[in-house]
Subunit: 160 residues, 2 copies
């Protein structure tokens, strides 16, 4: 569950993020609601990548008084994704998982045993990606990379 590699880093403070979010809402004539704040906050405080359903559950646990509908989760996630505040990862058949996009760019290492996601960055790969996009005349906007395999923990357990 918990990660202790050196590759991840939140590059933005929550207050800052919240401010940006409010700004964006205002700019688009949208309203700042408790639900939206709670969703942003929950995403911020989660090191895991969350499915809409997992996010919903987490919010229901942490804010039992606030009756948050799954529809609002979806609507807000869509909103946040449009505004590039969160990004989503698509998996095989299991749908999408969301994470805050406010971190330093990173890639994902996904354990096929336990489903955990470890993040990492590598400057060399980033550089090559740009070089390749350029070589093919492609205007690169974003990229994502996933490595699938068995994480260190599961390897110990399975002795492989």
């Amino acid at each position: 569950m918990s990660q202790d590699n050196d590759f991840t880093a939140k590059t933005i403070e929550y207050e800052q993020l919240l401010e940006d979010f409010k700004q964006l809402l205002k700019k688009n004539g949208l309203k700042f609601t408790i639900q939206r704040e709670v969703i942003l906050e929950t995403l911020y405080n989660s090191d895991e990548h969350l499915t809409p359903e997992a996010l919903h559950k987490k919010i229901q646990e942490n804010y039992p008084d606030l009756k948050t509908g799954i529809a609002t989760i979806y609507r807000t996630l869509g909103l946040l994704e449009n505004e590039d505040i969160v990004t989503s990862l698509s998996f095989g058949a299991q749908g999408k998982k969301y994470e805050l996009g406010a971190k330093e760019h990173h890639d994902h290492m996904i354990c096929t045993e336990c489903g955990s996601i470890t993040e990492f960055v590598d400057a060399e790969i980033e550089k090559r990606q740009h070089a390749i996009a350029d070589a093919l005349g492609f205007l690169m906007k974003d990229h994502s990379m996933q490595i699938y395999g068995v994480c260190a923990e599961c390897r110990k357990k399975l002795n492989i």
Copy 2:
């Protein structure tokens, strides 16, 4: 539609592929049916990554006499994916696209304007991926990388 970069290469002949497929079926006590052959053949002859629906449509066009149900497409695709004959790419909300896995390993460059997918390979990136997985104690089985942006063609059209 058509791609003319130097990065793609089919490394296996159709006859070979078909033979392997038959072998696999036999090994698992499964049967070789016209539908399965047609699906394999259509995937082989398509340079695009196909959604189950697109594949279905293509088959209906090319084999109007063969009434192929979408359920069979899904079942066969699942079978082929399990056997690592095809691999799937997941996109935002638009579901999955499948491609034959019988090519040299490659990554994907996806145009956010026209949705086209260009394949490429880069030895340096492949090498780094292994190095990173090793460094993190991860047993790497597979990986995928996508670059999102605007393809050369669309750039011309849009003048960007």
